[in-house]
C-alpha cells in the first residue's frame, strides 16, 4: 500500500478539473487523510488551461511538491502547458482522455515513457451515463476513487447532495457516471500496492480550507472588527471571507478606493479603539508603506497581511515567492521597527494571525504577516484546532488615575504607554505623524526625538526572547542546521524527514518571527553547527541576509534560494544535506552548492 500519493489533473477550463480535485480532497479530509491541493491556471480570466495537484497521505503533508504518482490529462496541450508544475516520471500512472487520439505508447511527453498508461473515454462515459459531458469530473472522481481506494462513499453522498436540487434524474445520472468510473477500474485493475493505505487517524475528519480563509477566520477569532482593503491577487479572499462574516460581530469591511485608503481607514479604526486589519500583496504593500510608518510613530495597533507573490512590480501575481521580507522589515523612512511574522502552512496561519493581533495590541504597533500565494490559495486538511489554547490580548488602556493629566506617550519602563481612544473622558490627545512629547504635542527637539525612538525600539526587546515563536526540529546537537520559513519550511521539513530516515544528523529551525531578528535564538542554534543552509524561495535569500546583518553566522552557512514559481523539492535539499555530511566527514573545505551567495 502507498502512504503518500501525488495526483495531477489538467484540462481546459470547464473540464471540471478543479471540482474533481475538490471532491477528492474533501473525501480524503472526511476520511481522516492528510492532504494538500494546489491549483494553477493560465492567465485567462475564464477558460484557458486549468490544473490541480493533490497530495494525499497517511501522515502530515508538509508540502505539495514532488513528481506525480498519477497524472490525469483531459487534453495534452493543456497538460503540457503546466510543465514543471506537473512532472511526469517513468513510475507515474498516466490516465488520459481517449478522444485525444493519442496512442498509449506515444504520449506527447518528452524523454519519459510511463510504464502504466490508461486511455479512458472520459467524455463518452460522462455523456453515456449522465447524459452530459459536464459530468467528466464525476467520471474522473470515480476513476481515482476506484484505483486508489479513496472516498467512494463520501463522494457518492456528495454527488447526491450536490445535485439534489436538480432532481432525481440528474442525481442518478451522476451516480451512474461515478459508478462507470469505478467499474472501469475494476475492469482495468492496478496492483494493490498502488492504493493509498487507510488513514492512521482512524478516520477522524479534519478541517479543510485555504490560507486566506484561515487567516480571515483567525482575525474574527482574535476580535478584529474592522477591515479596510483593496482587491489584489492573491490576497483578496481574505476580504471576501470577512465581508461574509465580520458584520455579524458588529464589524465592518470597507472596500476602499485604493490601497492607501484601505490601510488609512484601518489606522483610523485603530485610533478609534478597534482591532483592525488590512490585507494585500506586493504592489499594494508598496503603496501602504507611508501609512504603516504613521502607525509606527503614532503607536497604533494594526495587522497588515501581505500575501507574497513574485515581484517586483506586477511580477508574478499568481505564483508564490518569499521576496517581500526586506520590504516588510525595512520599507519605512526614518528609524522604524515593526514585527514581521510568517506562517508555514494553512494550519499555522491561524496561530500566526492571532499572534499578530496580540503583538499589535500589546506593543501598539503595526504587525506584518508574510503569507504567500501557496499558503493563501492551497486547500489543506487541518487537524481540529483547540481555540481555547489561544490567549487574546487587548491593548493596555489607561486606568482612571492615568487619565488625570493623561500622557498618551508616557515614558514607561516597558516603553508601552496606556492608550486611550475617542469617547474616553480625559483621554483626549493629539495623535500625529509628527514627532511628539509624552503628551502628544508636536516637537522639534532632538533630545525628545532620540528618547521617543529609544522608547519605540526598546518596547520590542522582550519580543526577541519569544522562543515559542520558533520551532527546532531534528537532532539538537546535529552538525548540520537548516533554516527555512513560510511555505518553503514545509519542503525543509520533508527534507529533514528524509535525511533522518537515512540516518543523517540534521536539525531545522523554523521561525514564525522573522523580524526583529532574535539574535540569541540563531546564535544558540548555530553554536553546534559546522554547516548550515537557509532554504528560501527568493533570488536574494532575504532571511539569510537579514539574519547575517544581525548575527555572526559560521562561514559554512549558505543559502539555497530560488526565484518564485520554481518549486524547491525536498529531494534537492536532501541532496545538499548529503553533500554537507560528506564535506564534514572528509573535513574538506568544499562548500555546499548554493544557487546564490
Amino acid at each position: 500500500m502507498s502512504e503518500d500519493l501525488i495526483i495531477g489533473i489538467a484540462g481546459s477550463g470547464g473540464d471540471g478539473v478543479i471540482s474533481a480535485g475538490e471532491s477528492l480532497i474533501t473525501a480524503a479530509a472526511l476520511e481522516g487523510y492528510h492532504g494538500v491541493m494546489t491549483k494553477s491556471f493560465g492567465s485567462q480570466i475564464r477558460g484557458g488551461e486549468a490544473s490541480c495537484r493533490l497530495r494525499l497521505a497517511t501522515q502530515p503533508v508538509l508540502n505539495p511538491n514532488g513528481p506525480l504518482d498519477v497524472a490525469v490529462a483531459l487534453n495534452w496541450d493543456d497538460f503540457r502547458r503546466f510543465g514543471a508544475e506537473l512532472p511526469v516520471e517513468a513510475a507515474t500512472i498516466v490516465i488520459y482522455e481517449s478522444n485525444t487520439g493519442v496512442a498509449p505508447d506515444k504520449l506527447p511527453l518528452q524523454g519519459v515513457k510511463p510504464a502504466v498508461v490508461f486511455s479512458v473515454p472520459i467524455t463518452a462515459m460522462a455523456a453515456e451515463h449522465a447524459g452530459t459531458d459536464k459530468a467528466k469530473n464525476i467520471v474522473i472522481a470515480g476513476l481515482l476513487a476506484g484505483w486508489f481506494g479513496i472516498g467512494r462513499e463520501s463522494m457518492l453522498a456528495g454527488i447526491r447532495k450536490k445535485f439534489a436540487k436538480k432532481g432525481a434524474t440528474v442525481v442518478e445520472g451522476n451516480v451512474r457516471a461515478f459508478q462507470a468510473g469505478l467499474d472501469f477500474t475494476t475492469a482495468n485493475p492496478l496492483p494493490e500496492d498502488r492504493k493509498l493505505s487507510a488513514a492512521h487517524t482512524g478516520g477522524t475528519a479534519k478541517l479543510l480550507t485555504d490560507g486566506n480563509d484561515m487567516c480571515a477566520a483567525a482575525a474574527i477569532f482574535a476580535g478584529c472588527t474592522f477591515f479596510g482593503g483593496y482587491p489584489i491577487t492573491p490576497s483578496t479572499e481574505i476580504m471576501q471571507f470577512l465581508d461574509r462574516e465580520i458584520w455579524k460581530y458588529g464589524g465592518t469591511v470597507l472596500q476602499a478606493e485604493d490601497e492607501i485608503a484601505g490601510v488609512g481607514a484601518v489606522v483610523g479604526a485603530s485610533f478609534a479603539g478597534k482591532k483592525a486589519m488590512t490585507a494585500t500583496s506586493g504592489p499594494g504593500m508598496s503603496l501602504k508603506t507611508e501609512i504603516l510608518g504613521l502607525a509606527s510613530l503614532a503607536e497604533l495597533p494594526l495587522v497588515c497581511v501581505n500575501v507574497q507573490r513574485g515581484g517586483p512590480s506586477t511580477g508574478m501575481p499568481t505564483k508564490a515567492e518569499q521576496s517581500d521580507l526586506f520590504q516588510a522589515a525595512f520599507s519605512a523612512h526614518g528609524d522604524c521597527l515593526r514585527p514581521v511574522l510568517a506562517p508555514t502552512s494553512v494550519a499555522d496561519i491561524f496561530g500566526v494571525t492571532v499572534e499578530a493581533f496580540n503583538l499589535a495590541e500589546y506593543y501598539q504597533t503595526p504587525v506584518i504577516v508574510l503569507s504567500d500565494q501557496e499558503i493563501a490559495q492551497r486547500k489543506e486538511t487541518v487537524d481540529p484546532i483547540d481555540t481555547t489554547k489561544f490567549q487574546i490580548i487587548e491593548r493596555r488602556r489607561p486606568s482612571g488615575p492615568e487619565l488625570v493629566n493623561y500622557a498618551r506617550f508616557k515614558f514607561t519602563e516597558s516603553g508601552i504607554s496606556p492608550i486611550s481612544h475617542p469617547g474616553m473622558v480625559g483621554g483626549n490627545y493629539l495623535a500625529a505623524g509628527i514627532e511628539h512629547n509624552e503628551q502628544g504635542r508636536p516637537t522639534a527637539s532632538g533630545e525628545l526625538h532620540a528618547r521617543m525612538n529609544e522608547k519605540r525600539f526598546n518596547k520590542f526587546n522582550p519580543l526577541k526572547n519569544r522562543r515559542d515563536l520558533f520551532t527546532i526540529e531534528g537532532d539538537p546537537d546535529a552538525p548540520i542546521g537548516m533554516v527555512s520559513w513560510g511555505s518553503v519550511a514545509g519542503v525543509a521539513r520533508e527534507a529533514l524527514r528524509l535525511a533522518q530516515a537515512e540516518g543523517l544528523q540534521v536539525k531545522l529551525l523554523v521561525p514564525q518571527l522573522l523580524y526583529p531578528v532574535a539574535e540569541q535564538v540563531y546564535q544558540d542554534f548555530f553554536a553546534s553547527v559546522q554547516r548550515g543552509l537557509f532554504v528560501e524561495q527568493s533570488y536574494q535569500a532575504q532571511l539569510y541576509r537579514i539574519v547575517r546583518m544581525n548575527v555572526d553566522l559560521p562561514a559554512a552557512v549558505k543559502p539555497f534560494a530560488k526565484s518564485g514559481s520554481n518549486p524547491i523539492l525536498a529531494t534537492e535539499v536532501l541532496k545538499l544535506l548529503r553533500e554537507m555530511v560528506v564535506a564534514i566527514q572528509s573535513n574538506s573545505q568544499s562548500q555546499p552548492e548554493a544557487v546564490q551567495d
Partner: protein, 301 residues
C-alpha cells in the same frame, strides 16, 4: 475574551464655551493667517453643538491648515499628506457615535488627496470636511497649488502656471455632495454658521473656506479684499435646495466669492453608517461564537 469599554458619559448637556475647545498649544501660523479665524469659527460651532471634546475626533493631513486639530481639545489625529479622509472614514465607521471633523487645505485636499474626495461623497459618510483654500502651498513656502489661477507666478511656476485650477465647489457638486458651503474668516458669523450647520447635516458635508495666506497669498485674496468682494448667497436670495442653480454658482469659483450654503439637499439620503448599522443588526443573530468560527471549515462533500 474581554473588550474593555471606554468610560464614556452620555451626551453632555453642559453648556460649552468656544474656549472649552481651544487647546493651549500656540499655533505656528503667521500673524494674520486666515486659519486663526477658522479655528475660532470651528470652536464656536462646537460650543453651540454641545458635544463634549472627548466625543469629537478631529482629523487632518499635512499643511498649515492641518495643524488645526492640535489647537483644539478634541481627540486629534494629524495624519499624513492627503490621507485625512480615509482615516476619518475609518474612525467614523469604527465608532459611529463620534463627531468626526476633517481639516484640510487646497493642496492636501485637492491635489495629493484629491482622489479620496469622490469616494467619501459617493459613500455619504457622515463627516464634515473643512478645506482651507488659500490657492498656495504655504507650509513649504509658496509653491503652486491646485487652486492657483492659470498664469500665476510662484517659485515653482517662475514663468506662470500653465494649468487650469481645480474648482473645489464644482468638484464636490459633480460627485453629488449633499451639503456644500463656502465661507471666509472675513465673515466670522457666517463661517461659524455654515460649519455648525455642516456638522449638523446628516451625511457628508463640504465647506470650502477662503482662508488667505498672508505671506504668499495674492493681495486680492486677502481678508480685506474678501470684505469688499464677498456676496452672501442668502442676501442674494439663493435657494439652497436648487442643485442646478448651485452648480451654476459653483462655476463662478475663482471669479466670484459667494459665501453661505450653496447646496443643501433638503431630503438627506441614508448615510453609509446607517447601512452598516442595519446590516450589523440584521446579521448579528447569525453569528457563531468567535471561538467556533473554524467550524466553517468542516468538510462536506
Amino acid at each position: 475574551m474581554t473588550t474593555l469599554e471606554a468610560p464614556t458619559k452620555p451626551l453632555s448637556l453642559t453648556k460649552f464655551q468656544a474656549g472649552d475647545f481651544k487647546s493651549d498649544l500656540k499655533p505656528i501660523w503667521c500673524p494674520g493667517c486666515g486659519d486663526f479665524g477658522v479655528v475660532t469659527a470651528i470652536t464656536r460651532a462646537l460650543a453651540n453643538l454641545g458635544r463634549p471634546p472627548h466625543e469629537i475626533a478631529f482629523v487632518s493631513g499635512i499643511g498649515c491648515s492641518s495643524r488645526i486639530p492640535g489647537y483644539t481639545t478634541a481627540y486629534g489625529f494629524n495624519t499624513v499628506h492627503g490621507r485625512s479622509l480615509p482615516i476619518a472614514q475609518g474612525i467614523k465607521l469604527a465608532n459611529p457615535e463620534l463627531l468626526v471633523l476633517v481639516a484640510s487645505g487646497d493642496g492636501d485636499g485637492f491635489s495629493i488627496g484629491g482622489g479620496h474626495v469622490a469616494h467619501v461623497i459617493r459613500r455619504n459618510i457622515d463627516i464634515t470636511y473643512i478645506v482651507m483654500d488659500n490657492q498656495i502651498y504655504g507650509l513649504t513656502k509658496g509653491q503652486l497649488s491646485p487652486t492657483s489661477s492659470r498664469g500665476r507666478k510662484t517659485v515653482t511656476s517662475s514663468f506662470g502656471s500653465l494649468e487650469e485650477p481645480v474648482n473645489p465647489l464644482l468638484y464636490v457638486m459633480g460627485y453629488g455632495a449633499n451639503y456644500v458651503a463656502q465661507g471666509t474668516p472675513a465673515d466670522m458669523v457666517g463661517l461659524g454658521k455654515i460649519i455648525e450647520e455642516g456638522i449638523r447635516y446628516p451625511g457628508f458635508a463640504f465647506i470650502n473656506v477662503q482662508s488667505p495666506c498672508v505671506t504668499y497669498g495674492m493681495e486680492d485674496q486677502q481678508l480685506k479684499a474678501h470684505k469688499t468682494n464677498m456676496q452672501s448667497l442668502e442676501a442674494l436670495g439663493h435657494d439652497t435646495s436648487d442643485r442646478a442653480k448651485a452648480t451654476e454658482l459653483a462655476r463662478e469659483y475663482g471669479t466670484k466669492l459667494y459665501t453661505g450654503v450653496l447646496y443643501r439637499n433638503p431630503n438627506p439620503p441614508a448615510t453609509y453608517g446607517q447601512g452598516v448599522t442595519e446590516r450589523q443588526e440584521a446579521l448579528k443573530k447569525t453569528a457563531v461564537p468567535r471561538h467556533e468560527i473554524l467550524n466553517r471549515f468542516k468538510p462536506s462533500n
